[in-house]
Symmetry: C2
Subunit: 338 residues, 2 copies
DNA sequence: ACAAAAAATACAATCGATTGTATTTTTTGT
DNA sequence: ACAAAAAATACAATCGATTGTATTTTTTGT
């Protein structure tokens, strides 16, 4: 079933059929009706491959995230899809699984498929950005969200991680904590750098000396949280609070500590980051920094589409930084102060 | 950058370039090398749109789920993507948001984009399957997973929901429960029908009379779980166990009951369904039926690809039914028996 | 009723790659 | 060295839709 079949059936030219199906004003209403009816009769379905090839536009956005099943990313994807659907686009979803070579492979595939744009959150292994050059070469706009990379000329939708780190740490301090450990993530991610800087600044503003031994880096998985907690107990200097750069590690640590009889928040108070669904359910419920994936996804898609749809003359990069908010729960509710 | 540019640069025909890039044995090694080098030099990237159009194959699978951010679905998508990547396919992800009209719209878009196959889990609103006819018309194989529909000729990857319902309910009975409420989902989903039948059969096998007043249907959201729990407390007949057709509703109910001072599992024991991450973290931890989304996703993609890749002569539908397993946790640990 | 202007439709090239067939070049065997 | 066979390459059509230009048809105004 092609436009040529319709054209033949009606004894007219396929260009007229094409224009009729695209509702062009170069076709008279009478002819349009005739064509539309025939199209329906024959069960015609436009072949978007052919159309896309001709128009050099696919109405497809490529999305690369480290892990689809992580709650933050799946909410972001949900937001991205919702906005894309609304605007008539579709999304190809890929996961790097935190591996650089996979990320590179995916970028190449997306380029070969001529996506109209790419939204991505880089992997933990991504230390340089050479594999992204191909996007620029092919004039494909990219938008980074959550985990950004500092190459100029691209758009970003980010959380103010510095502010988040500052909020989370200040909160613990306001609850009376003075020896606060920070669970940090891989150094190459700006995100974790910024959360760390927020932590450090909060300490300084409150005249608490910074102690680098209290900063523990890992990939912030649940198991690593438990390991870090173990390490915590064996520290000679006593700790009374933990600001974790994500909820998962915080929860791993809390569970380990609870099993060892440590009281939370009385002995050690916790603040996490991300507001994962589990953070609300664990006992004590985990104080955390909200990071709405769905909203971020929607904003990211909206911004990218704006850039795609305005003519190429002016793809001015733009950065949106969302303000984080603290969600206060039980895990930080020390009675000492406040 | 097209094969014609390469051809022109080397003074040869574009068909030879095409064959060289596809490693055809109709091109001599010497020519191939020359072409490959030139291609690299010019930064050539094959235009898959054109290739796909010619070959009438897109190496794209459409995936429709009710909600991307639901943990089960995001894990399934992760499994699907992983297997697809391995086999050289990519996936377009869409969410129906449980709405029939959206689902219909998505199916049409996928057809227009000539996906090679579709993997879907139907929405709660989907009562008839007329909107899926277009897939058959266009000869696009479909595979249903998790939530299936009983139209013949399609493949399915399912959990044995009957067995799951039976396991979950029998477990409560073995712990001494005799008045067990069942939280059920929308009737049109076979899945919930089957879990219900498993529940009913378990009662019968244990000589517990079935009481239809103990079956409460809803959409199984967290809020509805809380509402159902409220309803539970106002029942004249006392209840000592709940088998919920998903974890989310169970957790909503448990939180409400805990706030009212009901002891779990002593007063009311709980068994959920799905093994959501939160089920492990809530206190008491929730006994549940495991349903590995990621494994299901992988299997689904593998089966669909098998069907796509073998010639059309024999697209024999196939149904894989995974055996569920019970994960015993605290929420059902009554001391009465066992 | 007729020429000019405007509207509708047809023609033909194109997007970039693939592929069956025809032609040219190379290899083989005597 | 030459014909026959085999291998390599070129030619040309094609996938299905779109779009600038040319042609035909209709409308307008006198």
């Amino acid at each position: 079933m092609t436009i040529h079949d319709i054209a033949k059936a009606l004894g007219i030219d396929s260009s007229t059929v094409s224009r009729a199906l695209n509702d062009s004003n170069r076709v008279t209403k009478k002819t349009k009706d005739k064509i539309l009816e025939k199209a329906k009769e024959l069960g015609y379905q436009r072949n978007l491959l052919a159309s896309n090839l001709r128009k050099n536009k696919t109405f497809t956005i490529g999305v690369i995230v480290p892990r689809i099943s992580r709650h933050f990313f799946s909410s972001a994807i949900a937001g991205i899809e919702e906005m894309a659907f609304e605007k008539g686009y579709k999304v190809v979803i890929c996961q790097s699984l935190e591996q650089l070579d996979r990320e590179q492979n995916l970028v190449e595939t997306l380029v070969a498929n001529r996506v109209d744009g790419v939204i991505m959150s880089i992997s933990m292994e991504t230390l340089n950005y050479k594999h992204l050059d191909i996007l620029k070469t092919n004039n494909i706009p990219v938008l980074f969200f959550d985990r950004h990379c500092d190459i100029p000329g691209n758009s970003n939708v980010l959380l103010d991680d510095f502010e988040g780190g500052y909020l989370g740490t200040s909160h613990l301090i306001s609850k009376g904590c003075t020896r606060i450990v920070h669970f940090s993530g891989p150094r190459n991610l700006m995100m974790y750098q910024n959360r760390f800087q927020g932590y450090r600044t909060a300490l300084e503003k409150n005249n608490i000396p910074f102690d680098k031994d209290l900063v523990l880096s890992s990939h912030l998985m649940e198991k690593e949280g438990a390991l870090l907690a173990k390490q915590l107990l064996s520290m000679q200097k006593q700790v009374d609070g933990v600001f974790s750069a994500n909820d998962v590690a915080a929860i791993g640590a809390m569970q380990y500590l609870k099993s060892k009889g440590v009281l939370i928040p009385e002995d050690i108070a916790f603040t996490g980051f991300s507001n994962e669904p589990t953070s609300r359910v664990i006992e004590p419920s985990l104080t955390t920094i909200d990071q709405s994936g769905s909203q971020m996804g929607k904003l990211a898609m909206e911004l990218l589409l704006k850039q795609i749809e305005k003519k190429k003359e002016s793809i001015s990069p733009e950065t949106i930084i969302l303000k984080p908010s603290l969600i206060e729960r039980e895990s930080s509710n020390k009675n000492n102060k406040s």
